[in-house]
Amino acid sequence: MTALLEVRNLSARVADTQILSNLSLSLPAGEVHAIMGPNGAGKSTLSHVLTGKPGYEVTGGEARLDDQDLLALEPEARASRGVFLSFQYPVEIPGVPALTFLRTALNAQKKARGEAEVSAPDFLKLVRAKAAGLKMDFDMLKRALNVGFSGGEKKRMEILQMAVLAPRLAILDETDSGLDIDALRIVAEGVNALRAPDRSMLVITHYQRLLDYIRPDRVHVLAGGRIVASGGPELALDLEREGYDRFVDLAA
Amino acid sequence: MSLAQALLTGDPGYLPSRREEAWRWTDLRGLIRVLPPPAPAFCGDLPLASFAAPFPTEEVVIVDGQGPTGLDIPAGETRRISLRLINAAAGAGHVGRVRVSLEAGARAVLLQTHEALAGGYVGETQIDISLGDGARLERLVLADDREDAVSVTISDVRLARGAVFNDAVLTTGARRQRLETRLTHAAGESEARLLGLYRLAGRRHADLTSLIEHESPGSASDQLVKGTVDGQSRAVFQGRILVRPGADRTDARMGHHALVLSDTAEVDAKPELEIYADDVSCAHGNTVGTLDDEALFYLRQRGMSEARARAFLTEAYVSAVLDGITDQDLQTVARAWLAREAAP
């Protein structure tokens, strides 16, 4: 059986700098994998290449979702096939209320999939429920998306969008950074609630504490633009104790 | 129309008037009825440069427009130069032009002083500055004109690829004074910082006009001008940033901030952006205001006289501009100049 996400020998560069080289990764349906690695290793780059951010040039290898070529698709086509990225640095969009944004996104995805759009009342009901689950003040959703939000609020907003859009593959890029202790727990609970047999997650993080809440099935170490080691949850604990030194040597 | 043309021909018809958009706030036609006679050749002793002390350099002196015509700095060399533009003849007219050129990779620090030995002069000086590939020039201009003088100074600056120009112009104005900078990013990836500071009082007038042209991709311009007007003085700021088609990745910023300290003083500003390329980030800001009453009270409550408190706050307001000067000696000279001007 092929995995939900299959990345083989992926190489990519940005502005003439090779960042990813021969990166391979297999993420079966229903599993949660963590990616850890030193600053600048290429973790965010991987998330951008998988979601099709302009400016990244794939120089080799492939990435397949449900055994279909992902890299040939436009970013929005990947999104409506269920690829969701929780950005490390969520973007501010002045003048567009978060609610308007989210509803436009949801309906765009539904339309692309040939599904019926959600009505305004159904949408509000859905968002209210999800926001309550994440202990978010509903009034915040009336403000322009992310404008003036604190770091933690932005991250919560990302998870709310994930909950509403219900993706098949969620990539969380350092969603834990900037969260206070309570928020970390709430966000982790939100993530856990989304665990499902047909949904997979790639959790990029620097810290064990997130993994205490979200128990990953596997942990990968990304260094020097490729996966240099993989193991069970215990690998994260090793890293926390020993740092990345031995992996950085491996990557060289 | 230019002052130089009028001086050379003796015909006031060539004087720029307020009917011309570029001179709308600096009217020379209405001011000068008869052009003064040309300055006689200078004979006599020149005073020592007042700012020589912290600035060990070679000296280039131009008196009433007469003197060396150019200054060339060969590739790779580093120089420190003092350029003195001296107005010596009372009530006379003069036109001058001097070239400063830096070849590829050359570096220079230039202290340009406008000095006056007598009053009533009418002069125009053009300085053609060119920077070769990767050349760097830092210039400080101290424009100390007499209150009854009319003076126009035009700096025409061309930057080759990767050149860096850091400029600061400090002035107290004149009867009419225009300090104009035309700068072109000709070949890309060059940087310019244009700083300006004016302190005007009495019936003085100063006009800081600039045109910054981005002709090629990847260049940056950063302009900051601050000043104060008191008495019946008038400050003019006309800044224009022009980004030509194809000058992508241009980053241009312009700020002009003025304090009006008296009800009979005036500030006129026109910060313009003219943009023909889409991959750009340009911004300008312009503020005109007055001293903050709260701050004034705070200082007085701590024991300063009102005059002292005002001087203190205005100096603090304008001095931020000087932080942008990177050469330590120029920085010292500039601060000394400001301290002299700020002494109540």
Binding site: P75, R78, V91, F101 | E266, V267, S281, H284
Partner: protein
């Protein structure tokens, strides 16, 4: 292809102008050309008193001595002022009348444009929906004005200018030309000589006008110009909100629209003036389209008076327009909110003047310019404080958005401060659509076109929310349509 250049290519593709149809109606037109005779002809057609004719003739004499201005950043071939019809009217369409007398062809035209001319239709609308009184101007004449009786009951006069000249001569004589003097500028002077119709509004002291007033302008006739004249007087302590909309058929020729709008606000009065300008912009190659050369000025004559201008400018081939406020009364306030969108070969040079004469006067300017295709958009503004304007305050925010490599955006603000109490603050930015924001929206599933539209709506939101509700919805649609080439 990077997102924005793709967008630009689409912008060039097509511009869907939905109001481009021509109404086939019997016309009454003045012969082409402009002489004293033309002026007399128009005045006679309108059955005007002598003083009005004398006023027009003086304007005409002065106009002949003036020169067309050339300082704006717009470029168009010389206009042949002798090749224009200065008067065109639906036959037997002289003067407003009751609805059942109006040519059904005309009613159909307005229905097609979405303008409710039938009072019953408006009344039969959704309960609680805002009501609009409409003055419909078709070429040179007003064809109908609705809700006149209901307005008259509270003393509000709302009628065509031609009728006001005949029936409220004293008011017109007192105020006409008092804000925009006859020879203020070339186009205003031309208008003073040949203006045909327009709206007149007078709101008596203390009255809050019970409904939105609106005028809907339509140029239909070929080779004709439109020269309407609007005068609004808000007497002490009154309030009125006025809306203006305009469209024209698609024609290969350029048509001239030179209007004058004068607003007078007395003590404690407030006028809100909103415009959705959607004159035909010409085709993608720049053929045809309206030359929109308009003079709009408000005199905040009374203490604590207030005028806000809100404009959404999406149409016209060339726009030259600076709705301004003369802040004469102490503590008076002027506001200017503007969205200007240019696409294809359109050119717009627009902005405002805030002239602070009185003490503690305030003004606020928010301008959003969007240029796409090969168009050019200029913000031109003046903020000045005179020696007596102690404590004057201005805030200006002026943002430009560029879509595609061939569009141009300019900002030319003038600031003149002549006293120590004034505080002026001006900020301006020019950027292109952010690739980061576009990608973020696309990552969430929006198409390129939807993402562009969403970001543009966000960009103009500060101004849209200044419009009356009903208009805001229409304007938002218009913004989308204007950039439709760029959004598929």
């Amino acid at each position: 292809m990077p997102a924005t250049s793709k967008t630009a290519a689409q912008v060039l593709e097509l511009e869907r102008y939905k109001h481009g149809f021509i109404t086939d109606i019997d016309q009454d037109v003045a012969p082409r050309g402009l002489t004293e005779e033309t002026v007399r002809f128009i005045s006679a057609k309108k059955d005007e008193p002598d003083w009005m004719l004398a006023w027009r003739l003086e304007a005409f004499a002065r106009w002949r001595a003036l020169e067309e201005p050339n300082w704006a950043r717009v470029d168009y071939p010389p206009i042949d002022y002798q090749d224009i019809h200065y008067y065109a009217a639906p036959r037997a369409g002289e003067g407003p009348k009751s609805l059942d007398e109006v040519d059904p062809e005309l009613l159909a035209t307005y229905a097609k444009l979405g303008i409710p001319l039938s009072e019953q239709a408006v009344l039969a609308g959704v309960e609680g929906a805002p009501r609009y009184a409409v003055d419909a101007v078709f070429d040179s004449v007003s064809v109908v004005t609705t809700f006149k009786a209901e307005l008259a009951a509270v003393g509000v006069i709302f009628c065509p200018m031609s009728e006001a000249i005949r029936e409220h001569g004293d008011l017109v004589r007192q105020y006409l030309g008092s804000v925009v003097p006859v020879s203020d500028n070339y186009f205003a002077c031309l208008n003073s000589a040949v203006f045909s119709d327009g709206s007149f509004v007078y709101v008596p002291p203390g009255v809050r006008c019970p409904m939105e007033l609106s005028t809907y302008f339509r140029i239909n006739a070929e080779k004709s110009g439109q020269f309407e004249r609007t005068l609004i007087i808000a007497d002490r302590g009154s309030y009125v909100s006025y809306l203006e909309g305009c469209t024209a058929p698609m024609r290969d020729e350029n048509q001239l629209h030179a209007a004058v709008v004068e607003l007078v606000a007395l003590d404690d009065a407030e006028i809100k003036y909103s415009t959705v300008q959607n004159w035909y912009p010409g085709d993608a190659e720049g053929r045809g389209g309206i030359y929109n050369f308009v003079t709009k000025r408000a005199d905040c004559r009374g203490a604590r008076s207030k005028v806000s201008w809100t404009q959404v400018e999406t149409g016209s081939a060339v726009t030259w327009k600076y709705p301004s406020c003369v802040l004469r009364g102490d503590h008076s306030t002027g506001e200017f909110y503007s969205i200007a969108i240019t696409n294809n070969r359109q050119q717009a040079d627009t902005g405002t003047k805030m002239i602070h004469l009185g003490a503690h006067t305030r003004s606020r300017i928010i301008s959003k310019g969007i240029s796409a295709g090969r168009s050019s958009s200029t913000y031109r503004g003046l903020v000045s404080a005179h020696p007596k304007a102690k404590g004057a305050r201005n805030f200006t925010q002026c943002d430009s958005l560029l879509i595609g490599p061939h569009a141009a955006a300019h900002t030319t603000p003038y600031v003149e401060a002549r006293n120590s109490g004034a505080q002026f603050e001006h900020e301006a930015t020019t950027t292109r659509l952010s690739e980061e924001q576009l990608f973020y929206a696309r990552q969430r599933g929006l198409t390129q076109e939807e993402a562009v539209q969403l970001l543009v709506n966000g960009f103009v939101k500060d101004v849209l929310q200044e419009l009356p509700m009903e208009f805001a919805v229409e304007a938002q649609k218009l913004v989308a349509i204007s950039l439709e080439g760029s959004v598929g």
